[in-house]
Amino acid sequence: MKNTKIWIKLSLFILVIGILTACKTFTLVEKDKFTDPVGMNVKPEINWNEHKYTNKEYAWTIDGEYLNQIMFISAGENEYFLPFKNKWGVTDPKSPQFNKTVTLLEIPELFVKGIEFYGAQLTILNIEPVYFLDNNGFKFNFTLVTEDGLEKLGIVYGTIVNDRLYIMSYVGAVIEFYGKGVNDFIQMAESAKL
């Protein structure tokens, strides 16, 4: 009988853990306070909501990730970024992967590949050289149409520091939602430090 109780408790515990881990949780990122998602130190001027996908990928949003979203990405040697996962949660080996032989010039095309894996069609508008995280990097603007036809705009900043890739991207629906976070994103990207 005692063993039976233990089994039931264990079953319930596993069930609760399963439910909790399946839920997406957000935490408040307060404005005017420094924070360092994936090692990039930034100070937002408006409140955001943070969701940690992994220790190397954080997402921030104002109105929901589908409407506006900042991604903070960091990838080291042989690590995937924007990983495309199958239904068992295993990363597809065709997902973009960073290693120290990848040059800065290749990052935009890898980023596009990663996004397009999810069914969106992305067009880069222009790529410019910029300083990002106090290093030589790039910035590009893009348009994106989701699989269900929603038009979005986006900006990406990226650089490689000490054989590690850092990306900050912002994407939002053209109508209303892009404008709500873009200025804060740009000020954060342009003042971000490691």
Binding site: N3, T4, W7, I8, S11, F84, N86, K87, W88, P93, K94, Q97, T101, T103, L104, L105, E106, P108, K113, E116, F117, Y118, G119, A120, Q121, I124, L125, N126, I127, E128, P129, N136, F138, F140, L144, V145, T146, E147, D148, G149
Partner: protein, 420 residues
Amino acid sequence: MKKIIKYFFLTIVMVYLSSCADSIHKYSKPIENILPSTTKKDKELNTNLTFQYSIDDLPTNYSPESDPNALVDELGLWMQVEKIEKSTLTAGNLVKNEHLNTYIKKVFCKVSPEYCNEIRIYIINVPFFNASMYPNGMMHIWTGALLRIQNEAQLATLIGHELAHYLKRHSYEAYERAIKTTGAATIGGILLGAAGLGSINQLIQLGMTSNFYSYGRNDEREADGYGLVLMARGGYKPEEAANLWKRIIETSKKLSLLEVSIFTKTHPSGPEREENLRKIAKIVPKNNSEFIGKKEYLKALKPIISSLITNEVKQGEFESSLLLFDKLIKDDFYLTYVYFARGELYRTKKDHINFDKAIENYKISEKYNAAEVQNLYKSIGLTYIKMGNKNNAKESFNKYITLHPDAKDINFIKAFMEKL
């Protein structure tokens, strides 16, 4: 009690493992085993195929809305398919190029003047071979099919085949089967995934879990037969129908697992299909049926050729893409682009990277028309960087800058060169 709980756990584990094992099994099968085999009964049927198809058997004013034989589930299904058509119209991967859409519509109208204004054709940007006909008169053609078709007569074959499914009401029957096996509540999502409007992720999941496109072998044979009759009546050379399936067999030898699962596994085997079509082509009623239209077809693809090739490289199956590119080279198909694409495969595909081969292919592309493929010199420059040859890299980037001074990344390339 303890035993019940243990059995419960054991059952869950067994179910989970058996579902995994089933998927692994599907993925590890060689293609020949996945394709349906030809039975003795099938062979007997095949011998009579040539006498079965007459254009007079096809309705000239078919409309599923007014069909007195409509099935009970059809109204609900109709609404779901209408939703898919709305999604198609706003889908990010709908190909809107006017020139190409007009051309494909023109080919359709040659195949079937009766339904010229009835059927809506949408080109969907998905780099796999597929086309599908919906019970409301909507036809989807994926761009992967356009890259594998060799000429207008083969395009007419594909269109005729899909139209025959519609006119013979195969699509209703197939979807009705799917409702029974899948459940009406979930069918909308699966239909949407099957349309190619969702992500590659959805397609893969569909391919692994669904038997959706199964019309049944006899339905496929019937669609082949009537499709051929329709294209020949439109003035197209009937032998090209068999050549299309020959092409599919050839390019399927290294077919991606996804393509196997979403298309070929539910169709009659390629060799059987090719053989049947050759038989029918000999006796089909002809209408000056000699037109092949290779030049016309290639010209129509020109506005989207860069994206067709780029998407084929992006889809990530090294061996099947390489095989396809070899076939395209033999066909003299936009060689600048195809050699460039081969170079891209060798430069970017993990486990197959070979910078010497990449450069070799880029150089051939360069000989045909260096200015035509915008990223050619950028890719050459990137490859030389990987090879540690900075001088050649700089030279290539300079050519890129000279040839494409308005390129969207020109300042980025210049800044990058300064650091070399």
